[in-house]
Assembly symmetry: C2
Homo-oligomer: 473 residues x 2
């Protein structure tokens, strides 16, 4: 009863504030609401501030944005929807946000495993990249990664790679949302051979994509150990001047801490703060080597953090202090890292792993609850990307990025708690429909903006090339 | 060429040793081999001693056992198969072995999470069991768990619960293989109110099922902290007398170690050895609180070990010393534990988690390789159950427990290494066909021995009952 009353007040309020049109005819005094898309039935897990969970709910979408969110009966009263998706028995949740990827590296999935980070990078990844990464490789790898992510319900991702302009083009065509950082570092890489070229490419790239509704172009200096102090400052300056996010690996491994200590006499995060690179535009990946004082620095500067539990485990990089980050209310989201070090782009497994890893690592089974893990993959990810006013929850006025998930597969039967089931029992293949910016990009598990069989064919052609390139001297 | 020659020699050798019939007619001098089922094409990951991986392979099955294993061309030459399954483009692997479950607890999936083991057990699990567990509950929960496990390619499981006779009945009817232990402890439980009753039930249960081709009935004293010394010895005596496995939780948590230390003046494994309960019939679940000396004890007595990484993480029980166990060549397999503490029965996630957890916990990315993790879920699990001569690999003469797995899903594209892809990229839903004891129990993802919609309906009826029981005083 109380819920219905709240919904009614909400609808009345909405009629005053909303940009939606109320059609009224002389014959009918009751107003008719219009919307582009109605999702009806099912349970809406909003992830709004009150963490409302609305059973038998409904959501309207108009002009790519979320309109009404409430009980089905209240929302659908006098509603005229151009298109309706029935979600009865399903769960409607915010699209998942992958805060750290190297999307074209999907083509390197499993080329080398069970190795030290340095050995893995220098003996396998760098040579494989040197011999194979072209703009075409990046496009094929991006389409593969996009298809895998959309299948698993990811609606926004934050990337760092080369030829990021091609990644933006593929991402935009697929209808996916991305914070896409052109990776720049002090040595020659596949797309740019000098720092000056890399900076010029990045500026042009950012300006080209900045007005695109789906793409947030970014500047991505690789890491404190691969980019000089002068160049880090220059990258930060570019980010400020263009008002673009700055994406960077930070405090990832003991070797990095040692390197910075030896060269700068302090730890990574301290160093990055001292040179003025910590800012509310920074999205820092990993943040494993961080003590309480450094976490306070990240908090003070509103830095976003991408936590990548599975990649960090597989490379034995360490365990990020996530319980402390959550206790301090830092902006922390989840990421998969590249498929070469994970070996997939599956945020459901990251949620499950994050919740379990921090319990065993801290010895406290109460830390990183299912709700907190789910929050990291949704509204927390949005905060990490400094986009919490636009995405990450199902709320009026936000971009319509949301997914519909089956909830009655065998491994989900029976259910008692939504967050627990989303984090500990639901799998990527339980995602049925994906909507990004109001556009349906997957319906009944069929990708609508990407051609799966062509993607696989193209990827397998690269497989052969990669194998040949690695066996040649 | 060399492979073909080996295969040819194998076939000749086989014609002498095999029990298969060679049909010969006056018209045809070439012998015709018969088999019940031929699986042809695809890559056979045998997990035999040489870890043979046979691309474009084939496997024959006759009388519930594996016959020929080799290259397709060699195996199928002059072969007459009653039934053929085309596995081209797929991977054929040994059925997975889940070494630790409480299968009916699938009905408690997610009733309580993110809690201390003691709080979880005493405030939620024990009351929920006391109010709900009947023989019918056990049957419904078992069918639910069997369906989930078969869907994910599990062909053998080792269980501990109450009403284990009903579990054996459901398992046998579903065509699943099980080592099924009736759980006995010092306080009243749903099926037996006294120790004497429990022992009598167990003896009757073991004798009833011992000749069943799928069921290995077992004696399952719960744990060193819930069963007295006298009763542990009695259970061991019963196991010896009936020649039945002994299944037990062992060295699971610090609280157990403290309890045994306080009462017996030594640690759990030392105590269990001292009272003569360590044996080559024992299957010990968890084994987290184990030092090098204790691991040597387990080795000396040929104890089987069920490692449950996800459950141990979720309950913050600790991390079992698996790299040491593997270095000592202990009999260690993987388990999910009950779905109430995991929250699923998915061995693919256990493999992935095992490989990653031990890397980050030891700081060494080379420990628990993909091949070792895959071995733990197959031949290692067979060794943990003391059944390595019967199951766990695809070899002539073993029971025909094998599964066919898709290898071209988006998250598996491209592939470079079979073990890496099986452990780090493949998911439970990629299992296409499941064969147990030569019988096809899942074909093209359709369960043939269990009715999925009825199972879900029955489970959801219990959901309502459980919720009502927990809200009543």
């Amino acid at each position: 009863m109380k819920n219905l009353r709240i919904s009614f007040v909400f609808i009345v309020l909405f009629s005053i504030l909303s940009s939606q049109t109320a059609a009224q005819t002389p014959e009918k005094i009751v107003p008719k609401w219009n919307c582009d898309l109605l999702i009806t039935g099912g349970t809406v897990v909003t992830m709004d501030k009150d963490r409302r969970i609305i059973e038998d709910g409904a959501v309207t979408i108009t002009g790519g944005k979320i309109g009404l969110v409430g009980k089905r009966a209240a929302v659908t009263k006098n509603l005229k929807a151009k298109k309706t998706i029935d979600a009865a028995g399903k769960v409607i949740i915010p699209g998942l946000i992958n805060t750290h990827t190297h999307i074209p590296m999907s083509l390197f999935r499993g080329i080398a495993d069970d190795l030290d980070l340095q050995e893995w990078l220098t003996k396998y990844i760098f040579p494989a990249e040197g011999k194979n990464v072209t703009e075409d490789f990046v496009r094929v790898g991006t389409r593969l990664g996009l298809a895998e992510m959309i299948r698993g319900g990811t609606t926004t991702y934050c990337d760092m790679y080369y030829f990021e302009d091609a990644i933006a083009d593929e991402t935009s065509k697929a209808g996916m949302r991305g914070v896409l950082g052109e990776t720049i570092l002090d040595f020659p890489v596949p797309d740019n051979k000098t720092w000056a070229e890399a900076i010029a490419y990045t500026e042009k790239f950012v300006k080209k994509w900045q007005s695109n509704p789906l793409i947030t172009p970014a500047v991505a200096p690789h890491a404190p150990y691969t980019v000089s102090e002068e160049h880090l400052k220059e990258a930060k300056g570019l980010s400020d001047r263009l008002n673009a996010p700055l994406v960077m690996h930070l405090a990832e491994a003991q070797t990095e801490t040692d390197f910075v200590m030896e060269n700068k006499g302090m730890r990574s995060i301290e160093y990055i703060e001292k040179i003025g690179v910590l800012s509310d535009k920074l999205i820092a990946a990993h943040v494993i080597q961080a003590n309480e004082k450094e976490l306070e620095m990240l908090k003070k500067h509103n830095v976003g953090i991408a936590h990548n539990p599975q990649s960090n485990m597989k490379l034995a990089a360490g365990v990020a202090p996530v319980p402390s980050m959550l206790a301090k209310d830092l902006r922390v989201g989840l990421g998969t890292d590249g498929a070469a070090s994970n070996n997939d782009l599956n945020l459901w497994e990251e949620m499950d792993t994050a919740a379990k890893l921090h319990k065993v690592f801290s010895g406290d089974p109460k830390v990183v609850s299912a709700e907190q893990a789910f929050a990291m993959a949704t509204i927390g990810g949005a905060r990490a990307l400094h986009m919490e006013d636009k995405i990450g929850s199902i709320e009026n006025g936000k971009f319509a990025d949301l997914i519909i998930v089956d909830f009655d597969d065998l491994h989900q039967t029976p259910y008692f708690n939504f967050y627990s089931h989303l984090v500990y029992a639901t799998k990527a293949h339980n995602v049925r429909d994906v909507i990004i910016n109001g556009r349906i990009v997957m319906r009944d598990r069929a990708l609508l903006t990407l051609n799966e069989s062509v993607i696989k064919k193209d990827a397998n052609a690269y497989r052969t090339k990669i194998i040949n390139s690695l066996s040649s001297p």
